[in-house]
Symmetry: C2
Subunit: 243 residues, 2 copies
DNA sequence: CGTCCGCTTGAATAGTTTCAATTGAAGTGG
DNA sequence: CCACTTCAATTGAAACTATTCAAGCGGACG
């Protein structure tokens, strides 16, 4: 297996990334087997398919979604730099959702076959992977509550707030503005709303001065206010406890 | 740490359990530190709280749910024999949801502090835990799609079908009938529906002869039909692949 | 016997979807 | 350089699904 040190992508960039710390990332990168560059709109992990590889988003954005029998989509989550995708296929044998790029992306590629080596020889890193899974489970529980019990306004505020907070955490917020390279359709499919209603609800939030979203950029003047409307907790991501 | 072999609960009962095989369960049981018996209605894991213990349901049923700021509930999943709960707190430091019993239960108790030992010395079992987490993630993705994009009828058929299949898998199906010790309120809170609408939709399914649910028992004459209505795949649970 | 809990029912209301059509911006080819 | 296409966002109106409110019923239990 090749061990390409990731010289191009300075670790500094990743300092704040969830969930990897600098030293952990450095370690992970020793498992790197290559880099993959894709244009927007590329589906690189597909529902129901096994995948011999895992990927980390180095640059660019994506979308994780399920396709329903009638052709509709359920967006599971938005993908952004620092996100690990493909663990499900690596562990369970096949993906339960697809992953596609919504901008050009640069992906860090790991081999699934190295995973076992990691469990055997690096229990701390294996623990990290389980931690990742647990964090994802936490998020999905929150999403479930949002779709199940909240109004359109709350859902949208929740989703935008979440995206903002995650991007802020990875250092991509600039002057209360973060990249937002998704379509209203994507947001609608993430929240179980129709496109029309999503559009109208977005306008309400805009009129209230809670946020602005245009030209792939999201501006949030007061995160606390947005969080309040989305029933979001502003607390920092839970930190990994010492065992 | 005490290592109580689980003589009372014959392993035979667990043969079909997801995800533990007989030998795996036997191993897990070597970590057992005790058994906990609770009446119905006991909340033994609480949202936002750390927990020094993990539990496996040996007998009885429960409910995993989140409480919303307005007092409403989102049921995350139904808990049944064989289910492991509390992993989230063990890994992340605190629970994202509460767990309560809906019947008298008998729980197998593990110490969180033993978890690290497991990762260090038993990579196969650590892998199993990650596998468990991935399966849960899979399920939550399916649930999200159900709440986001399906009608009340489909949601209810989906939920009943899922419960039936899971209980069948652990050997609790008898003559096309499984235990169903939950309330309509619980089902409504799991599916993001009002109690009234859940009630009326259940009657439609009953009238169609798709199922009968009364006195804590669920009768499903034709699982394929129920699955079809709930857009459920009848395929067996994905098996753990060899690494 | 009275109370509580879970289930059931009807009617009014509200939130969301669906349908249908328009606009503007960006990209393509002759 | 201009018609033509495409994609994303927008708007209004009609239709519908699910919620809320309110009330009643039956069984279990002290």
């Amino acid at each position: 297996m090749a061990r390409t040190p990731c010289t191009e992508c300075p670790l500094r960039k990743f300092e704040l990334f969830t969930p990897f710390t600098r030293s952990e990332l450095a370690f992970m990168l020793s498992f790197k087997v290559g880099e993959l560059n894709l244009d927007r709109g590329a589906t690189f992990l597909q529902e129901g398919m096994p995948s011999p590889q895992l990927y980390t988003f180095l640059d660019g954005f994506g979308l994780r979604y399920r396709t329903l029998e009638n052709g509709e989509r359920q967006v599971i989550n938005f993908a952004m730099p620092g996100d690990l995708v493909g663990l499900q296929a690596a562990i369970m044998g096949e993906m339960a959702h697809s992953v596609e790029s919504t901008t050009p992306v640069r992906l860090c590629v790991f081999n699934r076959s190295d995973l076992w080596r990691l469990f055997e020889n690096h229990p701390e890193r294996a623990y990290d992977l389980t931690w990742l899974s647990a964090v994802e489970e936490h998020f999905l529980g929150e999403a479930l509550a949002t779709l199940g019990r909240r109004t359109a306004r709350q859902r949208i505020a929740w989703a935008l707030g979440r995206v903002y907070m995650r991007l802020h955490a990875v250092g991509l917020a600039d002057n209360k503005t973060v990249p937002m390279p998704w379509r209203q359709r994507d947001l609608a499919d993430a929240l179980g709303l129709s496109l029309v209603h999503t559009n109208k609800t977005l306008q309400l939030l805009r009129q209230d001065g809670v946020m602005q979203w245009a030209a792939d950029r999201l501006y949030v003047p007061d995160l606390a206010e947005l969080a309040r409307r989305g029933a979001l907790e502003l607390e920092p991501q839970p930190r990994r406890p010492l065992i």
